[in-house]
Subunit: 345 residues, 4 copies
């Protein structure tokens, strides 16, 4: 017996990746998909790699809600709240890949997104669903805020160090590099092939909207307000985010303490692969998978922990994590549909 | 009950791709792998994307034969014959991804590979296993010659036209473009990143060893000796071969006749996706999959059929087709383990 | 004393490349540039690599004509005829990088471009300016039709063979592969980074507008009407066109005859580099330069000449050749401003 | 009258780039080049883009010294000291692109390079030649230590802030990303195309040999010992280094003070392009040029200056800067041979 799932916004990159991953999920079947731009069109016309394999035509969002028990939304920010309310009223599970329910504090939402919380109780009942950090909170919830891409990779790199109180909470830096699918399917000069190819640059330096979301997570872990410096860069690759995180070690903290903290924290986490000393996290090694690789490096000369994480921004940073969250909410094995071995090249 | 399979030469690119694909094959389990270069090492040390997921250590070839019912060999040309003989004597199924058993005529093998047939009866009992063209011959065989990459893509683009007698047999041209994994894991100046990046060039022009193999297949289809001009080029991408094939239409042959011939020929072939008129085969759409996309174009001004095929050289052009062949030999559903939807990006 | 040159359409890729190359031309100075999209803006705002180095602000086309002795136009097809007329009436040299004056036969223009010749005498006085083939015709002309990119690379690969009567005139095939700058600065899904990266495919198969232009050139060389099959493909690189051309050798023609014909034909051509036997033309080796590398290969098994040319589509295929033509018209050394050594990587 | 220059190690990437740049230097001519691997071979056989344009055959190092007034050495670390001594004794100018003369403190050299200073007086007379920071020291010197690539980009990003005493000297972080030519022409698994393509990872985290060299420069600027955290990453592009540098602002320091400090510091520096507020340094914009683009960003939430520099690692980070240094030593205009406009794509 498979659960019926639907995807609103299925022709954006995250939505399309959901389609692909759900096609091989043994406990789910896609009941309907929607797309504003491509309503009435087959998704395989938009993404020809799906030809003959995915027999789904874009309907509208109402149809999707009607036909599905679990609704994934991959919409531009600001468009999820009404849909979430509808799902809530119909007792359906709503998993939002957008930002509308990620920030707990409406003031932050107003400041960074220029929007407001329409249904405040709905926001109260929603959960920020980064499973490795907040798994227990997710169970039993029906409005699920799936984290963003940077906001998955950065906290997973830092969490054990912060939770274990081994690092200072000031001066934290996250220097992140993302593949271009993170910017979506929409055409921009910056994603025009000749202008991104052989290029590399930072963008939205210290002003990216994922900043308050990362800080919210780190603050929960620390038990106090944490502020960080966050600088994203655009990589000329399709997939992957590498986050190089710099944290000042507290006095006397040793390399071994750090490693032990990470090993303990992640010992039961299938999707976090803590690399042995001497190895480096690499986006190449997690492509198309839900894994987050973490490598640890200590700069003894300056007393700095350099924790590096690599994820596939479209999988662990979006669609894969959304499925992981669905599995949790439905009481399925968390790994269901997400066990592929990342290709070697 | 899963069949025990082994891979000799598991750390080359084709061998490693076999490992990845077989990990999710529901009717097979990898009993052993071997590697001359990495004997005693875990394959996940060589390919870190496999960390924690593939728990296999390289043994030697004898161990692999001993522990397995089906043995795949991904070896440099010339090294498979002895192994094939051993497998034959032990009544094991041998699937060779190298060239040793592909050419039926020993003279061709001598000319193009500078080798000879050591066990002539073994060559007689072997089968050239391109399933869409020679499926019936494969059943019941135990020494299986898996075709090369170009030698899969080119014949699949041309077969219906030749078989239906709609094109001339002289003047056939195959202009092919391959991703760099086709050249393997070995380091060369030509695959050094700064020298291949932003580059594109032909190589082994009209002298590539896949020429006689393609001609052997086309000759079987035509019922007479076919000679072609074959020019491979190297693409700055990891995966994929696009074959642009030029065939002179016989007098009076129409576009509709061509399409009908292809539709008939491939109507039951899951792995060949014949594209609608107006669409173009693209290596992007078959990445990581066993599909062969074929698009048809008629140049009415010159009376030329331009048939274009796209495959993933490591899957349909190597490891995936080898599994497809195993499935045939074992009487399994031919698609087993090979049904992934190619990612949209 | 430097000639004053102007560029109409300076912010498209070809126009911008003209700006770059003309900046180091010792006998020319850019008097004015124009752009419809960016009028009033500095070109260095559009292309930040020019910051502080190119102090030019986009004006309108009239200003450019007024201030310049030589006017280059890099406009979408169809927009050059009026501008050409204005320049003609003002006795200025007009070099058109668009297609409006390339086809000699108005019927071809109507068929392939859906336009018509507005000023027929102007068309009669214009010259198709591929210097290595038609140098003598260019001298003294003032309306110059600069060839397109494919239409430079393909004829240069074939010219000596055709001119020397060593090959058949039927069955000629040009299989071409172009970097993406050939498609210009305009945003399209096909040039969106995630969709072109790791992709490769043919487009406008046997229907590309450069077909009649190539045929016009080859027909002039042959002295009779030549029809070819032309298939362009899109490469995931910024610059470069590789043209793999297939021509049937006439009976008894030898490899040595072919080489001699090419050596004789190009012996005084600085910009054509005929490679020694055994080497392959590669777009990597001509990047950023006005060179056309040509390699020759004989398939003796099928009696086919495979002539391969590599050019930088933005230089020899557009802006560089336009400057070469200006040099010819002005009586300057043809190499002026075009002698850079292509970078090794 | 042109100065005769020679290049020892001309077939490595830095040496070859020197050849290319010197070919268009109006006051220099290449008298001889050498290469251990390719002695007796033409450089155009090694780098076919140079065919017919660079008529130089590799000799041995002695020949180069004999025939040249200025000797550039692009050798593996450790091999320059004897050559430098020879040049010194013969009153020739020696410009070393390797590391042998970069560190002033022999203890640092022993620790990081496991070597020792053979001719201590020679080390004393040598100068560390980063022109924008130490121009006055360079004049009149004959043993010139040309900085490394990271060690050019990082100090140029930070120098004005440190020199002006506007930032703290502890907690400085340099997160750098380099194109793969920085690793040279030698084949490694890490630069094998299929393994670097679509990959991104850090390497030699907090242990790279450029660390003491950067610190030496920053300490000179600060007037006291500075220790930093330096993490390099490998980018899947050919050229370019982007350095994202994090410095803690001193209390009360404003954005305006920072900008003024940079503007003053670089106001006469042709090769440093300080970008306006709101723009981001990008390796794309400096390709093939000797420019260093610097963009400034203030994170007011954490009081952090984020200074980003972009250089071409083979030009400003190696061969171009070596020529800039030669120009200084010879009393030429510092820009000679280095004024190309970086291509727009």
């Amino acid at each position: 017996m498979k659960v019926k799932v639907g995807i609103v916004g299925a022709t954006g990159y995250a939505g399309t990746e959901l389609v692909r991953l759900l096609m091989s999920h043994e406990n789910a079947e896609i009941a309907a998909i929607s797309s504003v731009s491509f309503e009435g069109k087959a998704i395989s016309e938009v993404y020809p790699s799906y030809r003959f394999l995915v027999d789904l035509t874009c309907e509208n969002a109402d149809d999707v809600v009607e036909k599905s028990e679990v609704i994934f939304a991959a919409l531009p920010h600001g468009l999820s709240q009404e849909l979430a309310k509808t799902c809530f009223d119909k007792n359906k599970i709503f998993i939002d890949l957008g930002a509308d329910f990620r920030l707990e504090n409406e003031e932050d939402y107003k400041e960074w997104y220029k929007g407001e919380f329409i249904y405040k109780e709905l926001h109260n009942s929603a959960v920020y669903a980064l499973p490795e950090l907040f798994r227990e909170n997710i169970k039993g919830k029906t409005t699920i805020a799936n984290p963003g891409c940077y906001t998955t990779g950065v906290p997973l790199a830092m969490a054990p160090a912060i939770k274990s109180d081994l690092v200072e909470l000031h001066g934290i830096i996250a220097d992140c590099k993302s593949g271009v699918t993170g910017a979506g399917r929409g055409l921009t000069q910056g994603s025009h092939y000749p202008e991104l190819n052989e290029a590399f640059y930072p963008y939205k330096v210290a002003t990216h909207r994922h900043t308050p979301e990362i800080e919210q997570t780190l603050s929960h872990l620390a038990g106090e307000k944490v502020t960080i410096t966050f600088v994203p860069h655009l990589l000329p690759v399709n997939r992957g985010i590498l986050s190089t995180c710099y944290l000042k070690l507290k006095n006397g903290v040793t390399k071994e303490q750090i490693r032990t903290a990470y090993e303990d924290f992640y010992k039961n986490e299938y999707f976090v692969r803590l690399l042995p000393d001497g190895q480096n996290a690499n986006i190449h090694d997690v492509k198309y998978s839900n894994f987050c690789d973490v490598s640890l490096h200590i700069d003894e000369r300056t007393g700095t922990l350099i924790a590096v994480s690599a994820i596939d921004n479209m999988v662990k940073g979006a669609a894969g994590q959304a499925i992981q969250n669905m599995n949790i909410v439905l009481g399925l094995d968390e790994k269901t549909g997400l066990t592929i071995v990342p290709p070697a090249f």
